[in-house]
């Protein structure tokens, strides 16, 4: 088990956002997390990457409890998140953004190689290499955010709504790339509104409702689950 979340709770001030979440991600998997707006999906991501401290429970990565470890040190252990709402550095060029992604690494030859790989995955970024991140289109920023997260060579890649605000064509592309990244050896935990795509791509998935996990199963199972169909796939 690469990641194991054991009964975590998390509070924003006095509001409790997570009520005892447990989930796990095995090495080599793509795991999807679906749920309505405000269910707590991003909050789980923040808890894993360390942007927010959990109130109780444990987060084990490769067997080590990292719930008290600083966010930047979790990156060093191999967890990297592409945040919701992209979070590209607006004043840095595309290339500088990617270099920031590799901030914790010092193997410059391998970094250059990985940058070529990202440009291979996202040729659009290569065209825009010198352009400032803040002036990219929404879709391009999303590509940059995913590419930048890859630059850290994470063992576990956290993607928070990578398809947000993208045209259907591009969504297809992004998911194809996620599958590709996964096949190249990166484990992926994926938050998605686009349940159809997410469930059909994921090995396993969890359904989240108001801070609780209410269902889990393989992607295919959940895709055919009547309740999930009604709530998240827009089919009665």
């Amino acid at each position: 088990m690469l990641l194991e979340i054991d009964d975590i709770t998390l509070h924003y001030g006095r509001i409790q956002a997570l009520h005892g979440i447990s989930l796990h991600v095995n090495e080599g998997e793509v795991v999807a997390l679906i749920g309505a707006n405000g269910a707590g999906k991003s909050t789980i991501m923040r808890a894993i990457s360390g942007l927010r401290a959990v109130s109780s429970g444990a987060i084990r990565f490769n067997g080590e409890d990292i719930s008290k470890v600083r966010a930047d040190l979790r990156v060093a252990r191999g967890i990297c998140q592409a945040p919701e709402g992209r979070g590209v550095f607006p004043g840095m060029s595309v290339q500088e953004n990617l270099e920031m992604g590799a901030y914790i690494r010092r193997d410059s030859a391998a970094i250059a190689q990985d940058m070529e790989r990202v440009f291979g995955l996202f040729p659009r970024l290569l065209e825009r290499r010198k352009q400032a991140g803040g002036t990219l289109s929404g879709g391009e920023q999303q590509m940059l955010a995913v590419g930048r997260a890859l630059m850290a060579r994470p063992k576990l890649l956290l993607l928070d709504e990578p398809s947000m605000g993208l045209a259907p064509m591009i969504i297809q592309q992004i998911f194809t790339i996620i599958t590709e990244i996964n096949q190249q050896g990166t484990t992926v935990l994926l938050v998605e509104q686009n349940a159809q795509q997410a469930l059909s791509r994921a090995h396993r998935a969890y359904v989240l409702e108001t801070g609780n996990i209410v269902k889990e199963g393989t992607g295919a199972d959940l895709l055919h689950d009547p309740a999930v169909k009604a709530a998240y796939l827009g089919v009665a």
Partner: protein, 400 residues
């Protein structure tokens, strides 16, 4: 022709780009000439020939200051430039709003004063010191103490996001001033500390270099500024500098990239404070006398204005800003002399002081507002920051 090439050509007109396009030896030569001119600046024969001819009237408008000693004004510009360079690291690079930056200047100045003055209470009352220390020895201590106070202030506040830092730093500067004013214990209140030590060195004829004459102090501060510029440039281009940019642009994202944000914010704060303390120790070395009246809140605001006016995040901007906030009022005063601007007007039986010196905050307020409207990135902006600013404006007021 594509719009891109048109844009490129327009950029070429920009002075900075033209400078960048020059071959390297030419660039270095130009810099050397410029620096030599800077060292010559307080030479009377030199600066008296600088100025503009007045188109209509007779004669010419001097660039030097008639109201006060040119070298003195330049020295004052110098330590403000240092202050602006220090605040630029904090505000311009790391994006941290420090409203009490002059507090570090005060720490530096008081440290030097306490250790170098024979009338310091450390010697006369507490017997902590046998005799006054030489100025040069106290400068590193002043820097270290300023840095330490920066770390002590930053430690609890830099973990928090938001405006806490602005409030705490504002309080810090005021506390130093008020304690200095009201405490007889060591800083000696308004009576202050006299006979502060000067930098070392004698002319060949045995006369001390650093006494009442301002010119050597100007040379000293100019040399220090050049050193600090090299230091900051190297920092800005290092991993530390990249981390600062990331923190300033998006702190969460920076953390997700593995940047230890707290550590680097603390570094920015400490380095800025150290430069502020250095500036204070240089000033004290010249001032002879240090008391609390020097450290009013206005000075912190003036330094902040310097950085914003010049362009946060840009070394050139900090220098230009620091220079302008001191030089401009002094120069306006001499312009006032040339045109016969009155220093006072009488309305009824109230005398109103209208000398450019006392109006300088009015003038700066107006100038700042104008600059912030038409050139929010400052007079000599950092390009990256200009892009960030555009990005933020997009969020505030979407175009279309």
């Amino acid at each position: 022709m594509t719009t891109e090439t048109v844009k490129k050509q327009r950029w070429k007109l920009n002075l900075r780009d033209r400078f960048q396009d020059m071959p390297k030896p030419a660039r270095i030569a130009a810099m050397v000439v410029f620096v030599v001119l800077l060292y010559l600046l307080p030479t009377k024969a030199f600066y008296e020939n600088l100025g503009f001819p007045i188109p209509m009237g007779s004669g010419y408008l001097p660039l030097y200051t008639t109201g006060s000693d040119m070298a003195g004004v330049l020295f004052q510009c110098g330590y403000y430039i240092l202050l602006a360079l220090g605040l630029n690291v904090v505000l311009g690079y790391a994006g941290l709003l420090d409203l009490g930056f002059f507090g570090f200047f005060a720490v530096g100045a008081y440290t030097v004063a306490l250790l170098t003055s024979p009338e310091s209470k450390l010697i006369t009352e507490y017997n902590w010191l046998e005799s006054p220390w030489p100025w040069l020895l106290t400068v590193p201590i002043a820097i270290a103490l300023a840095m330490l106070s920066g770390v002590l202030l930053g430690w609890p506040t830099l973990r928090l996001r938001g405006d806490y830092l602005a409030i705490v730093t504002l309080g810090f500067a005021e506390i130093i001033r008020i304690v200095a004013k009201n405490q007889d214990w060591i800083l000696n209140g308004d009576r202050g500390i006299p006979s502060v030590g000067h930098p070392p060195g004698t002319w060949p004829d045995g006369e001390p270099i650093f006494e009442l004459e301002f010119t050597p102090y100007y040379w000293l501060v100019l040399t220090v500024i050049i050193g600090v510029i090299f230091l900051i440039r190297n920092l800005a281009n290092s991993r530390v500098g990249r981390a600062w940019v990331a923190i300033r642009e998006d702190e969460d994202a920076a953390e997700l990239m593995g940047v230890p944000t707290f550590k680097f914010k603390l570094w920015a704060f400490a380095i800025g404070a150290a430069i502020g303390g250095l500036s204070g120790s240089l000033w004290a070395g010249q001032a002879n006398f240090v008391n609390s009246a020097t450290f009013s809140l206005e000075n912190s605001i003036l330094v902040l204005a310097a950085v914003l006016l010049g362009g946060a995040g840009s070394i050139g901007g900090a220098i230009l800003g620091g220079f302008l906030v001191i030089y401009l009022p002094e120069w306006l005063r001499s312009v006032g002399d040339v045109f016969g601007w009155p220093t006072q007007v009488q309305v009824g039986n109230i005398h109103i002081d209208v000398s450019p010196t006392s109006l300088r905050f009015v003038i700066f307020g107006a100038l700042l507002i104008v600059v912030m409207i038409y050139r929010p990135q400052g007079l000599w902006p950092n390009r990256r920051r200009a892009a960030e600013l555009k990005d933020r404006q997009k969020e505030v007021a979407p175009v279309e």
